[in-house]
Symmetry: C2
Subunit: 477 residues, 2 copies
C-alpha cells in the first residue's frame, strides 16, 4: 500500500502521455465475425465434450497427485486434438500436500460421527486422533478478540454461515474464516481448528475443503471443515451447555515438493504473433469431486472459444493463448509462477481474463483498460449484450483468479462475472461433478469468450497493458 | 396365495354373521374432543422436541450398535417424561451386522474413487478389496434374464434410476433392485454387486444404504450402492466400450447375534384397558444419518399424539399403545417378533398403523376395517379433512411398515400416506438429519394421529380385528 502513490503517478503519466494515446477501435469486419462466433458458439458442443472428457477420463486431480500428471497429458493431447498451433508446458514447483484419510466425531456428551474434511496444508493429527474440548466463535472477529487463554489446547470452531448470492461475494468472508481463522486459532495456541463449511448447501452432509493460510508448517494445526448439517448438530450439542469434546482424526500433510506445470495452447497470431490475448482456467482440482465446475468448466470454456477462432478461415491478428494453470487451489502456484516468468512481457499481454467461477451464465462485464480503449470495450459490450451480459463501466476488470497476477503486473483485464448462485453449493466438495453443468449455460460462456477474445485479437490499438498500469484498480500487488 | 380362497371364506363368514354385526360409531363428544386435539396438535412442539432430542442425544442408532442400547434407554426415559402410564420393553433377537469401513474405485481404464456404501448383510470383501470387471444391467428383469456365464466372477451393476413421486411407489422397484438384485447376482455366480442407489437425489454424492435379501450368509456376496452421480460416472466410463474394472473394499458383516428390544409406552384405557389402539415407529436407524425422517419422525409423531391424549382430563376408554420397534431396517425384526408374541391377542388390537415414511404432510387415508365400521372411518375422515387428508375408501389400510405384521394377522388397520416427494432424496443416507423435518408438517402428522387415535379409543363398537380378518386386503402373510 505504501507503494500506491508512486504507482498511481506512474500510471497517470503513462495514460496521459504514453505509448497509447490513440483511441483503440475494433474494425467492423471483426465485429461481424465476432457476432458469428458468438452465435455459432451457442450451438457448439466442444466445451461440454471437453469438460466431460476431463472429468471422466482424469476425474479428481489434486495438485501433485498421480492424476496431476494425467491431467497434464490430457491437456497437451486435447490442445493438439483441437487444432492449436503451439502446445507446451512450463514447470511449476510447489509444496506437495496429501490427503490420506479423515474422520471426526463428537466424543462427549453425545457420541456420534461428524462429517468433516481436512483443509489444504493441514498437518495430520496424532495417530488415534486429536481429542479436545470445543470452543465456539460465531465470527472471525469474535475469534480475533478471544483471549488466548480461552483457546489454548482446545479445538476452535468458527460458525460462520454462508448465503447464496449471484456474485458469490459472501465467499469473501467464508474463505477468510477458512484461511485466516485457522492461522489465528493456531497463533492463539489452539490444538485444532474447525469451521462450518464455506458453502451454501445448507442441507448436505458434504464438507467443503479448501486451503488454509498456513505458510509455515511449524505453526500449523490440524484444520478441517464440518458439513453444514454437522455444524448444525455441533451447535445443538453445544447448546446443552455441557463441555463438548470432539475428536479429529486427520492423516494428511506436506510430504515434500512437486514440480507440475502450466499447460499452454496457442492459436498463433497472423500479424502480431508476439501479442497475446490471454485466457484460461486451472487444471488442478480439489480431490473429493471431479473438478467439473472448479475448474473443468474454465478449461473447457476457454479451450472451446479459442478452438472456434482457430476454425475460422484465417488466423486472428494476435495470438490467442489458453493457459491451463497448475495448482490454483493451494495458493495460485501456477499463476504466480507464470506471472513471475512473464513479468517482463506484460506489455505484450493485450487483454486477458480467466474463467474460474463455475459454468453459470455470464451476466456482467467490467474492464481495467486505458481510457482510450473504453470505446472498444463498449464495442465488445454491444456484441455481448444479446447474451445477457451487462457492461458495468464503474467496476475494475480483475482478470479472474489466475490471470489476476498478470493484471497485477499491468496487463489490461476484463472481469466476466458468472451467475454463482449455486456455485458454493458444490465448490470444493465431492459434489463438484459433471451433472452440475448445464450445457446451454456453458455454451453461453463460450459465446462470450469467443466473441471478446476475437475482438481483442483484431483490435486496432491496444488496451493499455504496461508494467504497473492498473495498480490503482485495487488488484495491484 | 393358495390359502387365499379359504381365508376369504373365513373373512366372509366373520363379516356376515360374526361378533361384529352392529354398526360402529364414534360418539359426538369424542368427535368434538378429537377436533380439539387436532387443533391443539398443530401448535404443539412436543414432536419436534422429541425428534430433536433423539437425533441429537443418540444420533445414528444402527440395530445392535452401542447406540441401540442408548436409544432404548432414551425411549424408556422419554415415555416416562411424557407421562405414559406404563413403560416396558420386549426383547427382540436378530443377527448382528456391522459396518466398519467402505470404499470403492474405478481401477481401469480411468482410475478414480467412487462413493459407495455397503448394504445390510453384505459380507466383507477380501482384505485389499474385490477387484473385478463390471457387467451392467439396466433393470432387474435384464439381470434375471442374464446368462450366468456373462456374470460369473464379475461385479454385477444394476442401473435403475428412481424418480420422485408423492406416494413414493417407485421405491417398490428401487428396493427390489437392492434386495432381490443382490440375491440374483449371487445365485448366478457374481463376485460382487453394485446398484445405482435407490434414491431420488440425482445430484448428491451420497449413497443410499439399505438391506439386501441375503438370508444365508454362505450365499451372500459383497454388495454396495453407488451414489447417483457415481452411477452416472460409471455409465459414462462404460460407454467408452472398454472393459471397466472396479474395486470394492468393504469391511462389514454379520458377527453374531444381538438381543435388543421393542420399547413400549401406554396410556392406559379407563374402560377397556385390554383393548389397544396401536401406533408407533421404529427406533433403529441406518448409521450414516441420524435417523430423523427414518424414523425419528414416526417415533416423535406417535409419542406426541399419545401424550396429547394423555394430557386430557381423563384417560381414554381404550389403551393407546406406542411401540418403538427394534431393527426395522434389516428386516422388520422387531415387528415380526412383536406379531409373533402377540398373535393370540390380535382381536384386542382395535385399530392400528405406524408412521414410517418421513415427516411430510399426511394427504391420504385408507382403511381395512369391517363393513360395519365404515361409517366410523368416515367420521374420522371428517375430522381429518381440514388437515388436507383425503379418505380413499377404495384402498386397503396396510397398517404401516411394522404394524403391517399385526394387520397381516387380522388387526384392523389404517393407511396414512405422507407426502414422500422428497423422502427418497434422504432415505438411508447421511442426509437423514433433523434439518429435513419441517416443524409445521410434523405437527400436521401429530394432529392426524391424535385425532384418529382418540376416536378409535372412544369408538362404540370395534373395527373388525380378528385372526385372519384382512387377508383379502393383500397384506396377508
Amino acid at each position: 500500500m505504501r507503494r500506491l502513490p508512486l504507482t498511481l503517478l506512474a500510471a497517470g503519466l503513462l495514460l496521459a502521455g504514453g505509448i497509447a494515446s490513440a483511441a483503440t477501435t475494433i474494425p467492423a469486419s471483426a465485429v461481424k465475425t465476432a457476432e458469428q462466433l458468438r452465435d455459432t458458439a451457442l450451438h457448439d458442443g466442444t466445451a461440454m465434450a471437453v469438460v466431460t472428457s476431463l472429468t471422466t477420463e482424469v476425474g479428481p486431480r489434486l495438485a501433485g497427485s498421480d492424476a496431476d500428471l494425467r491431467a497434464r497429458q490430457w491437456a497437451l493431447a486435447k490442445f493438439k486434438a483441437l487444432g492449436f498451433d503451439k502446445v507446451y508446458s512450463e514447470p511449476v514447483t510447489f509444496p506437495l500436500w496429501q490427503r490420506r484419510s479423515e474422520s471426526g466425531a463428537i466424543v462427549a456428551p453425545f457420541p456420534q460421527p461428524l462429517v468433516l474434511t481436512a483443509l489444504g496444508y493441514s498437518p495430520a493429527t496424532p495417530k488415534g486422533g486429536l481429542t479436545a474440548q470445543v470452543v465456539k466463535f460465531s465470527s472471525l472477529d469474535a475469534l480475533k478478540a478471544a483471549d488466548p487463554a480461552s483457546v489454548k489446547g482446545r479445538i476452535v470452531y468458527v460458525d460462520y454461515r454462508m448465503h447464496r448470492q449471484k456474485d458469490g461475494h459472501d465467499y469473501g468472508m467464508g474463505s477468510a474464516v477458512r484461511t485466516g481463522g485457522a492461522v489465528i486459532a493456531a497463533a492463539k495456541g489452539a490444538a485444532g481448528y474447525l469451521l462450518r463449511s464455506a458453502g451454501t448447501d445448507a442441507h448436505q452432509r458434504i464438507a467443503h475443503t479448501g486451503v488454509t493460510g498456513f505458510r509455515d508448517p511449524a505453526k500449523a494445526i490440524p484444520a478441517a471443515a464440518l458439513s453444514n448439517p454437522d455444524a448444525d448438530q455441533l451447535d445443538r450439542v453445544l447448546a446443552y451447555g455441557k463441555p463438548v469434546t470432539v475428536r479429529m482424526d486427520l492423516d494428511c500433510g506436506i510430504v515434500g515438493e512437486y514440480t507440475g506445470a502450466n499447460v499452454i495452447g496457442e492459436i498463433t497470431g497472423r500479424k502480431h504473433p508476439d501479442q497475446v490475448v490471454a485466457i484460461g482456467g486451472h487444471l488442478d482440482s480439489w480431490d473429493p469431486g471431479t473438478g467439473a465446475i472448479d475448474d473443468g468448466a474454465g478449461i473447457a470454456i476457454t479451450m472451446a472459444a479459442a478452438k472456434l477462432i482457430g476454425d475460422l478461415p484465417q488466423r486472428p491478428d494476435r495470438t490467442i493463448r489458453v493457459i491451463a494453470f497448475a495448482n490454483e487451489e493451494m495458493g495460485l502456484w501456477g499463476s504466480r509462477a507464470y506471472a513471475q516468468k512473464h513479468a517482463g512481457e506484460v506489455g505484450k499481454f493485450v487483454l486477458g481474463t480467466d474463467s474460474d467461477f463455475g459454468a453459470g451464465r455470464i451476466w456482467r462485464m467490467s474492464a481495467s483498460v486505458k481510457p482510450q480503449a473504453r470505446d472498444a470495450i463498449w464495442q465488445i459490450a454491444g456484441v455481448l449484450a444479446p447474451l445477457g451480459v451487462a457492461y458495468d463501466a464503474s467496476r475494475p476488470g480483475g482478470g479472474g483468479s489466475d490471470l489476476s497476477q498478470m493484471h497485477a503486473r499491468g496487463m489490461a483485464a476484463l472481469g466476466l462475472t458468472q451467475d454463482g448462485t449455486r456455485y458454493f453449493d458444490w465448490h470444493h466438495t465431492a459434489n463438484d461433478t459433471l451433472d452440475k453443468i448445464d450445457p446451454a449455460e456453458l455454451a453461453q460462456n463460450v459465446a462470450v469468450y469467443a466473441a471478446w477474445v476475437y475482438m481483442a485479437a483484431q483490435a486496432e490499438g491496444d488496451f493499455g497493458s504496461a508494467p504497473g498500469a492498473f495498480a490503482k484498480d485495487g488488484t495491484g500487488e
